[in-house]
């Protein structure tokens, strides 16, 4: 069996209450264990304050755990070298706004030990990947929210990491941008990159994740493959095109004859997001 991309073992994190008057402790994460296998897209879900951000920070070595440990590809998160294999996009990232897009990438590339022609090629390639070629020489200070998110993604990918940690990658981004980011994640998944995704946008998580974990009050309350968790075992869905009323009537009859119950029958609705995208594309709306 290959080394897991992320291993979290019995992780507990307590924060000291910063208030001088009540020196109580707040438990952000309690005895959490989970494993993310290579190649998976793992969605970590939970309401605000459920401990998912803290978990992510511990995995990245930004916060030291009170007990337990986390590893990235078998290397302890507290070792700096564990971060050679990981790219991170924080929620609402800002970068040095006086740098241009390509300067930003070359800065992060140099932090990963890249340099010279290799780094130049790599940043050009990434700018193309996230669709920022035309904005490469503009200062990041003038970027829109979606562009910031995309340069953030490019930055996370700069050293070609095997694991990507994304915190609300589409927060505050318009539907077109959000759609692109989702597609990008799917493309990365095809290349075998492991993704740990934190998001509130459940529909999006549903579209791209293989496996999810749901956290609440610092504990992992549900965990498993997405299909296993949400498919309704005793129901089946058909979507028919050009079915005549007679055919429908016949189907209803056959079903009841066989002892099945028709739970619902309706015209499938177009996804609002797709509709919106179609309309804005027709209007020749410029990509932002």
């Amino acid at each position: 069996m290959s080394t897991p991309a992320i291993t979290i073992e019995n992780l507990t994190k307590e924060f000291t209450n910063p208030s001088v008057f009540s020196r109580g402790k707040v438990t952000a994460v309690e005895n959490l264990s989970l494993t993310v296998e290579p190649g998976q897209v793992y969605g970590l879900l939970g309401p605000n304050g459920s401990g998912k951000s803290t978990t992510m920070k511990i995995v990245l070595g930004l916060v030291v755990p009170t007990s337990g440990r986390t590893c990235i590809f078998g290397r302890d998160s507290r070792d700096v070298e564990s971060r050679e294999a990981v790219g991170f996009l924080p929620e609402n990232p800002y970068f040095y706004k006086f740098l241009t897009g390509s300067e930003t990438l070359s800065f992060y590339g140099r932090l990963c030990g890249l340099g010279g022609k290799m780094l130049r090629d790599r940043s050009r390639e990434l700018l193309a990947l996230v669709g920022l070629e035309t904005a490469a020489d503009r200062r990041v200070g003038g970027y829109s929210k979606g562009m910031l998110q995309r340069i953030g993604l490019a930055q996370a990918l700069v050293q070609d990491p095997r694991l990507l940690v994304l915190d609300e990658p589409t927060a505050g981004v318009d539907p077109a941008g959000s759609h692109e980011i989702r597609d990008l994640i799917l493309r990365l998944k095809q290349r075998g990159i492991t993704v740990l995704l934190c998001s509130h946008l459940l529909s999006q998580v549903q579209e791209i994740c293989d496996r999810i974990g749901i956290m609440n009050h610092g504990q992992l309350v549900r965990e498993g493959a997405l299909d296993d968790l949400i498919s309704i075992e005793n129901q089946t869905e058909f979507v028919l095109e050009n079915a005549s009323p007679a055919l429908l009537a016949e189907l209803r009859e056959r079903a009841s004859a066989a002892g099945a119950r028709v739970v619902c029958e309706q015209k499938p609705q177009q996804n609002l997001e797709r509709y919106f995208l179609e309309v804005t594309a027709e209007q020749g709306g410029e990509k932002k």
Partner: protein, 306 residues
Amino acid sequence: MTSGNTRTAAAVHASAHKLFSLRRTAAIATNTFRDLVRQKVFYFMLVFGLIIIGVSLALASFSFQGQLQTVMDVCLGAMSVFTMLLAVLATAMMLPKDMEDRTLYTILAKPVSRFEYLVGKLAGVTMILVVATLLMTAAFFVVLHFWQGREIENLQLTEPAERAAAAISKIKAGTFTPTLLGGIGVILLRSIVCAALTLMLSCFATSWLFTVIVSLMVILAGHLVPIARSVWQGPLGAADAPFHIAILMRLITVFVPDMQLFNIVDDIAVGISVDAGVFLHIAGLGAGYVLVYLLVGWLFFAWREL
């Protein structure tokens, strides 16, 4: 993602991770430098230029003796204050800004240690301070050269020959001296110590305003260290001071850097030549401060929850 790139990036992964990498530190340093330059910190220098030109013009309308000295005093004084303020203000903003913008997360999520991050930041500010000092020195020397010529002219007109000759040779030998360069070096060193101090404070402070205020207070108190020292060991005698005052003064001398030692420009402007040994001692002391503040800053920062 071509196969070639994948291979080379993988090669980077495979290479042993160095505990301290100059390349990473240099990346942070040059980035900090570039960021500060583009934030137009050098407009600060324009103010300096205006001050020394203004002082020059103002002096020209007075017929007072010692104009050359005054030019030196004002320029060196302005350099001390400007570099110190530049060091404190530029440094105090760096860490809180990186944290607030979450840029720090993206940097530390790369294989960069917190020590490398701090060293890189300090090195970036140091680069800014070096460039600022060079620019100010160049402007200062132009003005000084002008006033040296003027003072010599004045002496030739007003003083009897023997005195004039003595005074002129004294001025010529006493204006652009190695001691003056050394003094400017000490101003630079002092500003780097101030930057290191500010960086250390910002490693546990929660706001940049706190950092700025505490840094300036420590620097101000630093100028009073000789007085604190004289209370418990000088000729004033510890016996005269109440116990709690003596303890307080002792604490000040221990925890506050003696900024007066870095304040030798006041002496240099008066023409006192300082020997190389003293410069070496000051340089050693300054380097000690920078290293200790960096180490302590790292200790504060290494365990800090981000």
